[in-house]
Amino acid sequence: MRFWPRSAVCIWLAGVVAAIAVISRTEFTADLSAFLPRSPSPAQQILVEQLRDGVVSRLILIGIEGGATERLAQASQRLAASLRAQDNFVSVNNGEESGFETDREYLWENRYLLSPAMTPEHFTARGLRHSLEEDLRLLATPAGMLLRRTLPSDPGGELMRLLEQLEGQTRPSIRHGVWFSGDGARALLLAQTRAAGYDIDAQERTLARIRGAFAEAAGGGEAKLLLTGPGVFSVTIRERIRNDAWKFSLVATVLIGAMLWALYRSPRAVGLGLLPVASGALAGIAAVSLGFGSVHGITLGFGVTLIGEGVDYAIYLFTQIAPGTAPRTTFDRIWPTLRLGVLTSLCGFSAMLFSGFNGLAQLGLFSMAGLVAAAAVTRWVLPELLPPGFAVPAVTAFAPGVMSLVGRAPLLRVPLLVMVALACVLLMAQREPIWSDDLSSLSPVSPDEQRLDQRLRTDIGAPDVRHLVIVRAKDEETALQGSERVAAALRRAVRQGWLEGFDSPAGFLPSQATQRARQAALPEPGALRKNLHEALRGLPFRARAFEPFLEEAAAARSMPPVDRGSLQGTSLALKLDSLLSKRQDGVVAMLPLRGVSNSGAISGEIGKVPGLEFTVLDLKRESDDLYRSYRREALTFSLMGAAAIIVLLFASLRAPRRVFEVLAPLAAAVVVTLGMLVLGGHRLSIFHLVGLLLVVAVGSNYSLFFERQALSDRDRERTIVSLLFANVSTVIGFGLLALSKVPVLNAIGSTVGAGAILTLVFSAILIGRGPAGRLP
């Protein structure tokens, strides 16, 4: 028995060392993947992958504004040149023609393999006649100037056709040779990083490189650098959460430390009072790291919230030590209640552990591990380390006032019931749903930053892709063939007006089968000459004008087909990577759609193509659905947690009346807090829900202690004063979070701050006890 306490301290120290060792090797992430389910559907899988390391996640949109267009253009050229020289970037595009020339060359060299017009009819006498008449018409227009140069080699107009196909998307306008926004206020660049979007450390380094290169390129002028894109967001979010979490943790620690100093008057006790919190946070992070392989920034930000809860345990212990008794004897009295409080909290959080969503599950595990560690340290480690004879003198000073307030509190029962009823009416009368279904409501990215992102995207002509057709196949060739068949269906849908246009990887890299078919559609040289001769009859073209065409068409019959490698050095290579991606079980081709007006009809049209494994994906709907199901699941789990708490209380208290007394203040506080949030204009997110769980976790301690049968009036006084101290520390910890601009922290802070006060006050009002805690 004598060795038991010492070994508790040793075990604790070993635990701290182990946790630190785990944490030092932990990877911290901040991407959106935390909001994605652990067992996603194929569509969600693609969503996740695109967000994590798809080409989209690697794009950084750069704007340079402020100053004369010439200066901006110069800065853009210098910045692009400097970034292209670094190996952090796959490509840096600013509209300078270097890239487009190679694209054009690729299209020109391989026009007979790439042109969708290449059917056997195309180069018959009739087909040629039709093309030549069209050429004649075009020669008379401004386009004729360009056409004239290619016409002798390309009377079929393949190049024009291919260029038009690529030009479908809007491109930024060009001034002084580089991309500019329509109003000329911003020079624009588009960089693709080598690092994946989820690799925030690498993204952060890349951003630093861009800023450095810009400082040199701009030469200290008035020009300003604008950066946006998924990588930029990830870095900002992590930075912001880290900052806020760190800043508020620090301030909360100082404030709570000051409060504890005022109460304990012992530096050692103050230090010890923070021990459970610190241990809990370490245990929480380590547990999540071990359980999930990485820790999300949001989970980490959540760590700060443990301060409020963990400090409580030490306060309960310290404040309730009767003068002249050993700490361990205090536990003889309060441990059963405290243990029940811990178990109640665990029930509340355990539901989250089973969530299919990483983010929630991480929060659940973090909280549970943290609470268990904090409670264990309080129970077994603190009593060993407290100075002998420790007691909190302040209790005597506070007790009379507090007790008189508590004594009169039950008078407020009727007003409280009215308040709860009003809150219920308010919540039910809400016309708009009280829950926000917009995923972006969770995003710590400020509206300003979202607007900047939107503006640069519009400028650069890269609007958010919303609709995609996904074709899954076993290999690249099959995927490209599938894309071609989908494209044929989509062309019909375009004619029906169901969408404006689309992009397809097969548009610039056709399947080998299609390329062979196109080659086969080229007539042998003698026949082609005869067809051309016939087609030219009566037209004003010179007889031998098309010799280059005859030669090149003959050569194209035996040219090697193009493949991925042929695109090397073109901007099309980049595009192909984004539209055609390999994965473990095959290849996925993506066809982004533009201007969709009837996605149902489009699905129907593609559905008519036999033997195709495809999905028409609406990214916005998909992510909103995802978020809705995330929230629904959290709500379900919270209710299950509540049910578990009720079962637990019945099992421990064994009297319906006692269970009711413990639960009533909690339920009332939850309802009134919700009402206050809604009244304050908040659309509730999942983190408000998490906040409510915390209210229940923290608040259950209050109502349990209030409900506890005290041994004496002194005992009850000390108990209730300890609740007050605990409450103040919780409110300090969470109230500060409400000042954070990060929606996650703000939601939890404002919910728990308000909820904790309400629970304590409601406990005082609803749980009436006579002087020595006798049931009235």
Binding site: L139, A140, T141, G144, M145, I174, P540, R542, A543, A545
Partner: protein
């Protein structure tokens, strides 16, 4: 293949033109002699600047290496100072080009297709457009930006010779000549680097 004019709705301009023609007849020799020491590019531009609006009919012949006979187009032109120019081709295929400030809208009647281009994005097209528009507007500054400007002849029969100064434009166009008398432009000849050329003659449209 010459003659022509932007027909002007402003009578004073008309009389100025008559006066100019009269002067050239009086001097009896046209091109070489009527250019007094005071007449030059500046004066021509000054004269052209007076014109506020004009309408004309055009016939354009395009001579191309690839064709055995030239393409012939005809239609109407509308000008409003300083920057608005419309070219409505009627034959052989209806098509409209409308130039307003720095935007060019191309509309082909048969396909019902319309496309608007920002001139800044197409430097060659821009240079080409300015050869005509800046001349009509008497905007020497803009002309100088894109071309070396030369002038032959005199007030009654002048020929403005524009040689592109930008490498990109030089790759396409060797020379643009605009001929006219007084404040009327009656012929536009474009010599391309490839050897192809086009000649547009413009006559007054009084309708």
């Amino acid at each position: 293949m010459t003659v022509n004019a932007r027909s002007f709705s402003a009578p004073p301009m008309f009389s100025a033109a008559v006066l100019a023609v009269g002067l050239s007849i009086a001097s009896g020799a046209g091109a070489q002699t009527d250019a007094g020491p005071m007449w030059g590019v500046e004066q021509l531009m000054q004269t052209l600047r007076q014109v506020k609006s004009a309408r004309g009919r055009f016939t354009e012949r395009k001579y191309m290496a690839i064709l055995s006979t030239p393409l012939e187009l005809s239609g109407t032109l509308v000008y409003a100072a300083p920057g608005h120019l419309e070219k409505h081709t009627v034959r052989p295929n209806p098509e409209s080009l409308v130039l307003d400030r720095d935007e060019l809208t191309i509309e082909s009647k048969d396909g019902n297709r319309s496309r608007t281009l920002a001139l800044r994005d197409y430097p060659v097209l821009w240079a080409f457009v300015e050869s005509i528009r800046s001349t009509l507007a008497g905007d020497l500054q803009t002309l100088n930006r894109f071309y070396r400007v030369g002038l032959r002849g005199g007030q009654s029969q002048w020929r403005l010779v524009l040689t592109p100064s930008e490498p990109k434009m030089q790759g396409v166009v060797r020379e643009i000549q605009l001929g006219g008398s007084g404040d009327w432009v009656n012929v536009i000849e474009v010599l391309e680097t490839s050897g192809d050329r086009s000649v547009m003659t413009i006559s007054r449209d009084d309708s």
